[in-house]
Symmetry: C2
Subunit: 242 residues, 2 copies
């Protein structure tokens, strides 16, 4: 598969004003030193909708996606597995490949649930039109779901022979775990503060990613988009509690 | 990776009384002729919870999963990609592998949304405790989401050089599309009947899977679990409409 652009850089597309699912892909592109153009940030969301509609073979249902070879690679976990395999960035044995994909898909399940908290009735309605339902959803998410998922991540890290999910070397799924916890901390600061002590390995992993030399420049750059209340992780104080 | 059981058959685990996400895996195991033991149907759900808790390395967050080599392969799309690669069952080029995974992950998104329709507030509460919210969620799902996804599947099939997603040969994602449409037809019979004419390629694909010689015995057997209202696809007449 050849890159679609003359420069050899990937055409990466995602909503330009939120970190959302796109940020999971950006972290891996940046940490692995893979050249890319953040096309919707260059050309706008309308250009993205036009590009997406124009794909006949192998279309994307939704961003994020990479345009390559006349078709798309979309779905966050799929993009990450593809990049990791194609660029030999991270563990490559069959066992580790499917283990990382398993973790990544579980991370994406939490991402979807985090979005459902403020949009339980319908993604296409405003939060303001489903606030009562969101308050009920948030309570379950804070009390049951976050601890359940965090306990599973902690268990997975405890069995690893090192600080990372597959042992001694970081992978895209480690970067994604960092981004997930960061997003939850933005959305539910009181809740995360009250439980983080129960998950020392998970929290250490987050600290390690935050300090990665491969990401130092990126974190300081304007390529990194801050969490905000148009995205997946939103801070509505009324939905948070210790 | 060696099979964990002496017989060479996979240990497959999923809730024993519903088709749910497990059925996507069963269809591929059966159509590809891969030996497996449906462990929770043999030994019960309690045995599954015990087995799942016992996995230290590479644990599963939730069923379905395959126990193999002392760890698990879980997450439906991950299991299917793993089986397809390991058993050379379906297209194997890098391009087709990631395309099928992209489609499968989009199918799993619809599955999750179909469950959210009757459990919009929390998966851990009863439907009866969130009926009002479910009625609102169902309207959006019927009117906007199903047609949006179906249009995308139809577009993908239109670009394929044949009746299947990758052309002339079925893959696990084709089997999954059949199962998805079957589930939606069970849950929303009025709605599917009123729109199915708009998606002739998708409906033809479902007919082709239903008639596959590789699945003939399976469909007649008691290994195939019927849709029911304990599962992901549930028929609540009050949530359906043309």
């Amino acid at each position: 598969m050849a890159d679609s652009s003359d420069s050899g850089a990937y055409d990466f597309w995602y909503w330009p004003s939120i970190p959302g699912r796109g940020e999971f892909v950006r972290l891996t592109l940046e940490a692995c030193g893979i050249p890319y153009r953040d096309r919707a940030r260059e050309d706008g969301a309308e250009a993205m909708m036009k590009d997406m509609a124009g794909h006949v073979e192998g279309p994307a249902y939704a961003p994020p996606y990479i345009g390559i070879d006349g078709q798309t690679v979309s779905q966050t976990a799929n993009i990450l597995m593809f990049l990791s395999e194609r660029h030999d960035c991270g563990p490559t044995t069959m066992k580790t490949r499917y283990w990382l994909n398993q973790v990544q898909l579980t991370i994406m399940d939490v991402v979807a649930e985090a979005h459902n908290v403020h949009h339980p009735v319908a993604a296409m309605l405003y939060y303001e039109d489903q606030k009562a339902e969101a308050a009920r959803a948030a309570e379950q998410f804070r009390k049951e779901r976050i601890p359940g998922y965090f306990a599973w991540f902690e268990k997975a890290l405890k069995a690893a022979a090192g600080d990372w999910l597959t042992g001694s070397r970081w992978s895209y799924a480690d970067l994604s775990l960092f981004q997930l916890v960061s997003g939850l901390r933005y959305a539910f600061p009181k809740r995360i503060k009250s439980i983080e002590g129960d998950y020392p390995r998970l929290m250490k992993l987050c600290d390690l990613v935050a300090a990665m030399p491969e990401l130092k420049d990126y974190f300081r750059s304007n390529r990194r988009i801050a969490f905000n209340n148009d995205g997946i992780f939103r801070h509505y104080p009324e939905l948070d509690a210790a």
